[in-house]
């Protein structure tokens, strides 16, 4: 379909934008998914046979591995179409160029230098397609002494992120949950891509973007950048601290789970009134806001006021009573809670998506809403090579015999 026609048929801010997604694993595919959720037509190209390694990551239904049923793959590639293409063959590279002819944006996460070796180097692509945006995502960047170093979710966090301050002082530093770091990098890559895409609408020139996971962590506001600047200011170096070293800071148990409260200075009096009434308001140990951070005071307040109050209340009760007094108090949810919590049901966050092989699962819709438009409906992740015919025959105009030949040669 010509670009102009696609534009008319789609919706979402990126309707009519074609993205060719060569990326694999987590950060790149999440970047592609976000662009798809903004309305772009994202075509994911996977190596024939094995496909994206995330097809092996799992978890799997009933823990039985299957290339079409990996949770990580199923969510990272929602709303994309999928083709197979072997870029290590000359024929595959020629087809890639044909696909690029029809694309505005290309995402890749190969090892730095691999695109050049495949005859698809970003500089060459930009010369050939002057308006193309090429987004390269890598562990450490396209250059520099660490260019070829190996990494993992935890290694990226250790080197770039605030791992030194994650955990308890007497124990080893710990990583964050699931693959939050790589997903966060995918968000940065999507923003980089979209920023240059908007630039290209105004300047008519393309771009090559170099996103380094290491730098997305060295520049994260999750503790890292304030700690770096504070270090410049005082020479202090940060490490892990015990949780709850300030009155009400950290998670606290209640009747049926945990809540987290936040009591900045302006709400300290309201908070004392809420959990301890006049007795707490009159208690000289907690008279001023400076007392919140004095050694031992958090424990004393817990024992005398906060825990007795919380343990008589459910998460819902504690939160609604505190929030009614404008005291910030929120529940701690597990994965199971996320699916059942009324909050997300009311907001229609979850959408059941049926995948032809894996079955039906609920996925979160995009978090952004544009005007009165409902979020775009998610479509299932592609099975391996699902859209080969649509795209190679329907869009590139290949004959059926040609398709059969490519399949025989293992190119698709």
């Amino acid at each position: 379909m010509p670009i102009a026609e696609r534009e008319a048929s789609g919706s979402g801010p990126l309707a009519g934008v074609r993205v060719l997604d060569f990326s694999q694993r987590i950060a790149g595919p999440y970047c592609g998914k976000l662009l798809a959720q903004l309305g772009a037509d994202v075509v994911k190209a996977e190596p024939p046979g094995r496909g994206d390694p995330s097809r092996t990551y799992g978890p799997f239904p009933n823990d039985i591995p299957h290339a079409e049923k990996s949770a990580q793959f199923l969510h990272l590639n929602l709303s994309k179409r999928g083709v197979t293409l072997d870029l290590s063959t000359v024929l595959g590279q020629r087809i890639a160029l044909n696909l690029l002819e029809e694309s505005h944006i290309v995402i890749e996460s190969f090892k730095p230098g691999a695109m050049e070796r495949l005859g698809l180097g970003p500089e060459m692509l930009r010369t050939r397609f002057p308006r193309l945006i090429v987004t390269s995502i890598s562990n450490f960047g396209q250059g520099g002494p660490y260019r070829d170093w190996l990494s993992s979710e935890a290694i990226t966090y250790a080197m770039g992120g605030p791992m030194q301050t994650t955990g308890l002082p007497e124990y080893e530093p710990v990583k964050l949950g699931a693959t939050a770091i790589q997903h966060s990098a995918g968000l940065v890559a999507a923003l980089a891509t979209l920023t240059s895409w908007l630039g290209s609408l105004r300047s008519a020139h393309g771009d090559h973007l170099d996103v380094s996971l290491f730098e997305t962590q060295a520049g994260t506001i999750d503790r890292r950048t304030p700690q770096l600047v504070a270090h410049q200011h005082t020479g202090a170096s940060f490490t892990r601290r015990p949780a709850g070293s300030m009155v009400a800071a950290g998670a606290r148990p209640c009747k049926d789970g945990y809540v987290i409260m936040a009591v900045p200075d302006p709400s300290f009096e309201r908070f004392k009134d809420l959990v301890g009434g006049q007795r707490a308001l009159d208690d000289p140990r907690f008279a001023s806001t400076d007392d919140k951070m004095k050694p031992g005071r958090a424990d004393e307040f817990d024992i005398d006021y906060l825990l007795p109050w919380l343990l008589e209340r459910t998460m819902d009760e504690a939160c609604s009573q505190a929030q009614a007094l404008r005291v910030a108090c929120t529940p701690v949810y597990s994965a199971k809670d996320l699916l059942t919590a009324p909050l997300f049901r009311e907001r229609a966050l979850w959408q059941a998506v049926t995948h032809p092989r894996a079955g039906t699962f609920e996925h979160p819709r995009a978090a952004f809403r544009f005007g009165d438009n409902p979020p775009l409906e998610l479509t299932p992740s592609p099975t391996l090579g699902q859209h080969n015919r649509d795209i190679y025959t329907g869009e590139l105009g290949m004959a059926d015999v040609e398709l059969a030949r490519l399949r025989r040669l293992g190119v698709i």
């Binding site: 250790a158 997305t216 410049q232 998670a251």
Partner: protein, 443 residues
């Protein structure tokens, strides 16, 4: 420092967001980060700040912190330069310093009619208004998209509520570390042997919310570029965090398993965080393949371990990680954490030292990429700021200006942008809208 900026100037290249003016009503953390992403890439960002309202955790915890308060900050380490708040502490707060580069600051009191009039005039010459204030704040000020679009039909207004503009938590107040609990993240990190009250604050939801807020803004601007129409954009920061952990929600649906914290364990590779020779300095190893294990055994001078049935293949290593930990940590403890990382990576073993702040400032990769950039700041001196989050060949870029002083750009905003007369300007000063400090009654 890279020389990209000079090249950009000589080539006459523009930044992708140049010519876009953003009115910045954001507070605290995620909102300001979203705006940084816009100002870094060429948008003109004007922070609207009030001399009568001190938003917690934005330009400080307190206007003029007491000596006692500053002392207590030492425990938390987020102190002012040299532990001295100075005459204008709000310009020296590290949590503001770290995100506010490339922005402008003006003061105006939006609670008074003439303040709102200033906002109205600014909206006429702006493209974006962005905010992440607590529930009810905009209503109280009488600011709504419906009103603003009448003044500027193609305005993009971006709101970043914690949980959404509707739903049962719409009126709930929350900081970012609380959103992490609601989005399910707090349940997933930490040590399995300790309960949730052992877990300190993390701010991934803020970080991701900041990036996503900018993403939503640029998406709306892209739309406007084609249609000429503005729109209201809503980004729920908590909902934005959920897909980062989606694998875990699918795990529950697929297997009934509710995942808990695993410290540094991973599903699949053997992985651990090991002590080194230096006090509280650590190194993470992730062993995904037999080959990586073989190379590590060689580095450790224990090639016989390759044939040890406890560690022979990846499932065996995964099952016997406690024994593997003992062997590896007995070896790592003799080395400097950075030296060991260099040595193992040279031998193709995936290893990453837990890098401290001084380690990052001395890091050869960040140095080669020109990540940190030194800028002079009137109230702080020269600071080496963490820099751009990505590099662009088409738009060579670098940091331009240090974080703005409170009210530093009043002259620009009122006189140049709005064309306010000398007498009106004086009147606005007298009325207290314009100034470079907070009203003395605020504490």
């Amino acid at each position: 420092m890279s020389s990209n900026g000079d090249q950009a100037q000589s080539a006459g290249a523009r930044l992708p967001l140049e010519g876009i003016r953003v009115l910045d009503l954001t507070v605290v953390w995620a909102g300001p980060q979203a705006v940084t992403m816009l100002s870094d890439w060429g948008a003109e960002v004007l922070r609207l700040e009030s001399r009568y309202f001190f938003a917690t955790a934005t330009r400080g915890w307190r206007v003029h912190p007491s000596r006692e308060h500053v002392e207590s900050l030492k425990v938390w380490r987020f102190g002012y330069p040299d532990w001295d708040p100075g005459d204008r502490p709000w310009n020296r707060f590290p949590n503001f310093q770290c995100h506010a580069r490339n922005k402008l600051s003006m003061t105006v009191d939006l609670l008074r009619p003439e303040g709102l009039e200033v906002l109205t005039e600014l909206v006429k010459v702006s493209d974006v208004l962005i905010e992440n204030n607590g529930p009810g704040v905009l209503d109280k000020l009488g600011i709504s998209y419906e009103e603003l679009r009448r003044i500027r039909p193609d305005l993009v207004m971006v709101r970043m509520p914690a949980f959404g503009l509707d739903g049962s938590f719409a009126d709930y107040r929350a900081f970012g570390f609380q959103m992490e609990g609601v989005a399910g993240h707090m349940s997933l990190w930490g040590y399995p042997e300790f309960d949730l009250s052992s877990r300190d604050n993390t701010y991934v939801a803020d970080a991701a919310g900041g990036i996503a807020g900018a993403l939503a803004t640029v998406a709306a601007l892209t739309r406007r570029e084609k249609t000429g129409q503005g729109m209201l954009v809503e980004l729920s920061q908590t909902e934005n965090m959920v897909p980062l952990l989606e694998e875990v929600v699918l795990d529950y649906q697929m297997t009934g398993r509710v995942r808990d914290a695993t410290a540094n364990r991973e599903r699949g590779p053997a992985q651990g965080c090991y002590p080194t020779r230096n006090d509280d300095r650590w190194i993470v190893l992730t062993l995904a393949t037999d080959e990586q294990w073989r190379r590590l055994c060689e580095e450790m001078g224990k090639p016989e371990l390759v044939r040890d049935p406890r560690f022979r293949h990846s499932l065996a290593r995964w099952r016997n990680q406690h024994q593997l930990d003992e062997i590896v940590s007995g070896w790592t403890i003799s080395f400097d954490h950075v030296d060991l990382m260099n040595r193992l990576q040279a031998g193709d073993v995936p290893a990453g030292a837990v890098l401290s702040e001084p380690d990052l400032y001395a890091d050869p990769q960040l140095e080669a990429r020109g990540f940190f950039e030194k800028l002079p700041h009137a109230d702080v001196g020269d600071v080496s700021y963490p820099g751009l989050l990505w590099q662009s060949a088409g738009y060579p870029n670098r940091l331009k200006t240090a974080p703005p002083l409170f009210g530093e750009h009043n002259e620009y905003a009122y006189r140049e942008l709005l064309g306010v007369s000398d007498s009106k300007y004086e009147w606005l000063v007298e009325e207290g809208h314009i100034g470079m400090d907070f009203e003395p009654h605020l504490e």
